[in-house]
Symmetry: C2
Subunit: 452 residues, 2 copies
C-alpha cells in the first residue's frame, strides 16, 4: 500500500507478547485449529476524545501479508527451551491465511466498534494480536488527535512538526501519515514526504540565526539563498525587532527579486505578537508575507488563537500531536468473539465483550451522523450503511484498498458529518452515538445467563 521504509520489527512475527506463543503451542498440541474471530476495538474513549479516526490499516494488512518467523527467530525460540520441535516446525511455515474486515482509514469511529475483525485458524489469529494492537492503536491515536487540531484550525492550515518528538523514527513516519490523513497540509518530515508523497515544508531554525554574528545577516543570507521560498524565523532575540528586520531585508533585496514568503513566530504570546507583526509587515509593504505560528500548540491553543482573530495563516504542531500528548494510548483490545462457530464472551469486571461476528451500520441524515448500530454480521433491516469492509481474503489483501488521498478525503468528509456535540473540543461526558442491535442484545443476555 505504501513504499515506506519499514523496520524489520514491523513484519517480524517475534514482535509479539510471549504468551501468544505459549498459547499457540498449547493450541497446536491439542489441535485446536478451528476458526476464531477476534475484534480489535477500544472499550471507552479517553476523557479528552469524543471520537476516533481509524488509521493503521495499511500497515496492519502489510504486516499480515508478510509476517514470518525467520530461521534466526526459530533458533532463538529453540534456545529458550520452552517450545517443542513440533511447534517450531509449525512456526517455520507460519503464514496468515485468514480474512479481515476493517473500518477504512480516515473514517471516524467509536468505542466497541471493531476497527479490525480478524477470522483465521485460532493460532494464526492469536499470534498476530500484539502487532495488530500496536499498529492500529498508535496510528489511530495520532490521527484522532490530529483530527481535533483540524477542527480547531478550520480554514487555516496546520503542519506536522512532530518528527523530533515522536517515539522513535518509525513513529515519526507513521505519525506524519496519520496527521496527513486527518488534514495536515504538510509535514516537516522529509522521509515521510518521500515515503508517502506528503508535501514537505519548513525552512529555518534558531540555530541558523545564531550561527551568524548578526540576526540581519542571517535573515538576508537565507532570503537570498531561497529567493522564492524563504520563511524567516523572527523570534530568536526579539520577535517585534525581528519583524522590523524582515521589512528592512525585504526592501534591501527587492531589486534582486527576493520575496519573503512568510515569517515564523515560535515563542511568546502568539496572539498579540501576530497582530504586531502583521501590522509591521503590512506597513512595510509585505502584505503577501504569511505568518506561521508554532511553539507547543495544540487544538485548544489553536482554537483560542483562531477565535481571537489572530492573523496567523498556518500553525506548526509538534509535540502535542506527534505523541497525542493528552491521550497517548487508546487502550485498544483484541478479543475473541467467536470460536469454532460458537460466540465467546468475557465477563471480567469492567471488561465485557460483545460476542459474535459483527458489523457496524452508520446512519447519516442531512449530512450529519446520527447513530451507529453495532449488530451481528448477518442481521438485516438495520438502518444506515455498513462501515466495515473486507480487506483480506485467505491471507491476501483485496484489491482496491484505496490511496492515502482517499483516506484523507474520507476523513475530511467524516469530520464534516460530525454533529456539534462531537466536534466540541472542550466537551466532556458526551455519550458516543453508538447502540447495539436487538439481536446482539439478545445474544449477550442469553450468553451472560448461560455463563452465570
Amino acid at each position: 500500500m505504501s513504499d515506506a521504509p519499514r523496520s524489520h520489527a514491523a513484519t517480524s512475527a517475534l514482535l509479539t507478547d510471549h504468551y501468544e506463543l505459549t498459547m499457540a503451542a498449547s493450541y497446536l498440541a491439542r489441535s485446536m485449529t478451528a476458526t476464531a474471530t477476534f475484534d480489535l476495538f477500544v472499550r471507552s474513549l479517553p476523557p479528552e476524545r469524543r471520537f476516533l479516526v481509524a488509521v493503521g490499516l495499511a500497515d496492519a494488512v502489510d504486516y499480515l501479508a508478510q509476517v514470518r518467523f525467520t530461521d534466526s527467530d526459530l533458533e532463538y525460540l529453540r534456545a529458550g527451551g520452552t517450545f517443542a520441535e513440533q511447534f517450531l516446525d509449525y512456526l517455520a511455515d507460519f503464514r496468515f491465511s485468514g480474512e479481515v474486515w476493517a473500518i477504512p482509514e480516515g473514517e471516524v469511529c467509536f468505542p466497541d466498534e471493531p476497527l479490525l475483525r480478524v477470522s483465521a485458524p485460532l493460532i494464526e489469529a492469536q499470534v498476530v494480536e500484539t502487532a495488530l494492537l500496536n499498529t492500529v492503536a498508535h496510528q489511530s491515536a495520532i490521527a484522532s488527535k490530529a483530527a481535533r487540531v483540524a477542527l480547531a484550525a478550520g480554514e487555516h492550515a496546520f503542519v506536522d512538526f512532530g518528527a523530533r518528538r515522536t517515539h522513535g523514527p518509525e513513529a515519526a513516519l507513521r505519525g506524519a501519515r496519520a496527521a496527513y490523513i486527518a488534514g495536515a497540509a504538510s509535514t516537516s518530515n522529509v522521509l515521510a514526504g518521500k515515503a508517502y508523497g506528503i508535501p514537505v515544508s519548513g525552512t529555518m531554525a534558531h540555530s541558523y540565526v545564531m550561527a551568524f554574528a548578526d540576526e540581519r545577516d542571517a535573515l538576508r543570507t537565507f532570503a537570498r539563498d531561497f529567493p522564492s521560498k524563504a520563511v524567516l524565523l523572527i523570534d530568536t532575540y526579539d520577535t517585534v525587532e525581528g519583524a522590523h528586520r524582515v521589512v528592512e531585508v525585504a526592501r534591501e533585496l527587492a531589486d534582486e527579486g527576493v520575496r519573503i514568503v512568510g515569517v515564523r513566530l515560535d515563542s511568546g504570546d502568539l496572539g498579540p505578537l501576530a497582530h504586531r507583526v502583521r501590522e509591521i509587515l503590512d506597513r512595510g509593504g509585505l502584505r503577501q508575507t504569511r505568518i506561521i505560528a508554532s511553539g507547543d500548540l495544540d487544538e485548544h491553543r489553536i482554537a483560542a488563537l483562531v477565535g481571537d482573530g489572530a492573523p496567523i495563516d498556518s500553525f506548526g504542531v509538534g509535540t502535542q500531536m506527534g505523541v497525542s500528548a493528552d491521550a497517548p494510548a487508546l487502550g485498544a483490545v483484541y478479543k475473541l468473539v467467536e470460536y469454532d462457530g460458537r460466540p465467546a464472551l468475557k465477563l471480567s469486571t469492567g471488561k465485557v465483550t460483545l460476542p459474535g461476528r459483527k458489523q457496524v451500520w452508520r446512519e447519516v441524515r442531512d449530512g450529519v451522523l446520527t447513530v451507529d448500530t453495532i449488530g451481528l454480521e448477518h442481521e438485516t433491516g438495520i438502518a444506515g450503511r455498513p462501515i466495515l469492509a473486507q480487506v483480506m481474503v485467505d491471507g491476501t489483501p483485496v484489491d482496491g484498498r484505496g490511496t492515502l488521498e482517499q483516506a484523507r478525503e474520507r476523513c475530511t468528509r467524516a469530520l464534516k458529518e460530525l454533529p456539534p456535540s462531537l466536534r466540541d473540543l472542550e466537551a466532556r461526558d458526551v455519550a458516543p452515538p453508538v447502540r447495539t442491535s436487538r439481536e446482539l442484545d439478545a445474544l449477550v443476555a442469553h450468553m451472560t445467563n448461560e455463563v452465570r
Copy 2:
C-alpha cells in the same frame, strides 16, 4: 552496540525536518563549515518527574556512524526542486565526522544538562538534529517513567507488558530496552528478548480461557502443556472462583508432576483480591505459587499496593510505562552553543540557552547525590566527578561504550543515590539539584549584555 532490528528510518538521513536541509544548503553555499557545538538537553522537567534517566545513546551513536543519503533519497530531493546540484553532490558524500560526548545510558540526569554534546562541521551537526532528538528523548522518557515504577516496586519485580501499546513496533523494542535498563525484570516482547538478550516472560491471556467451553479445562490443559512454567490467568470470569479452580487443577495434576508457578490477576480491586487469592492458594497447599498483578498499573498504583502490603510478587506494567503516559514527551531541544570558537546564546522568551562547551560535575556524599554543577569544559576546581564521557571521535564510536547490563547496573546505582526528595513519587515543585559554575554564569552575563 546491539543487533536489534532497525528500521531503514532509523539510519536514513531523510529522517530530518526539512529546515535542516535548507539551512545546510545555505551554509554550504556560504562555506559556513566551521565547527559547531550543539547541546541536546531538556529545559525543564514535566511536572510528574523529579529526574530523568538517560537512554538512547546506543541508537544515537549507531545512527551517527551509519547515517547516509541514498541515491533514491537524492533523487527525491532533486525532484523537489529546492536544492542546487552542488548541495546534492555534497549530500551524496555526507558522513558524520564529529565528536560526541554524552551522559552514559542508565545515568540519572536533570534539566539543562547536555545528554549529548555534538561538535562537528556546522552542516553535519545540524542535519542530525531531528533524529538525535527523536531517539534520545523518546528512550529517556520511557526509562524515566520506568525508573519511577522501579522505585515504587522496590524489592518486588516488575515486567514490561508495553508491546501492544507503544507507538509502533520499533518503539516497542526500544521501550522494552529502556524499561530493562531502569530495572524491569523481564519483558513480554519476544523480539526485544532476541534483540537485546532481555529475559522474556508471559504465559496466557483471556482468549485462551475463552477458547475452551469451561475455564477449568483451559487451566488444566495449559498447566499440563507447561508443567513447570505455567502462570494461570484467573480473572476471565471471576477471580476468586478462578483461584479455587487453580487449587483443584493443581491437586488433580500433582501426580503428573505439574507445578503451578503463578497466577495472574488482571482486573478488579487488586489489593483485596490478592489477599483472598493468596489465602485460597495457601490453604490449597500452593504456598509457592506466585501472584502476578496487571491491569493499567503505574508507579502510583504499585506504590499503593506495596504500601498496603498486598501479597503481590510481581507487577506487569503496560500502557502507562510503554508510552510514559503522564509525560509522553520530554520537550528535549538541540541548541547551538558554540560556532567557530565563539559561544552562542539564544534569548527567545523562556528559551535561554547556556553557551559554550560544557561538562557536568556530580557530587555524591555518603552515597547520596547532593548537587550537579554545569560548567565550562575546561574549568577546574569544581567538586564532583564529570559525568559526560566521550562516545565518538572523528565520527567513529569509541571503544568500551559498555553493555546493556552495565547500563542497567548504572541505573540501579543512580536510583539508590537519589535523595528522598527526588525519590518521592508524589512530590511537586522540587528544584532539581543543579547549579551553574561561576565561569559559566560570567559568560552568560557577558553575552547577554553584548546581545542587548
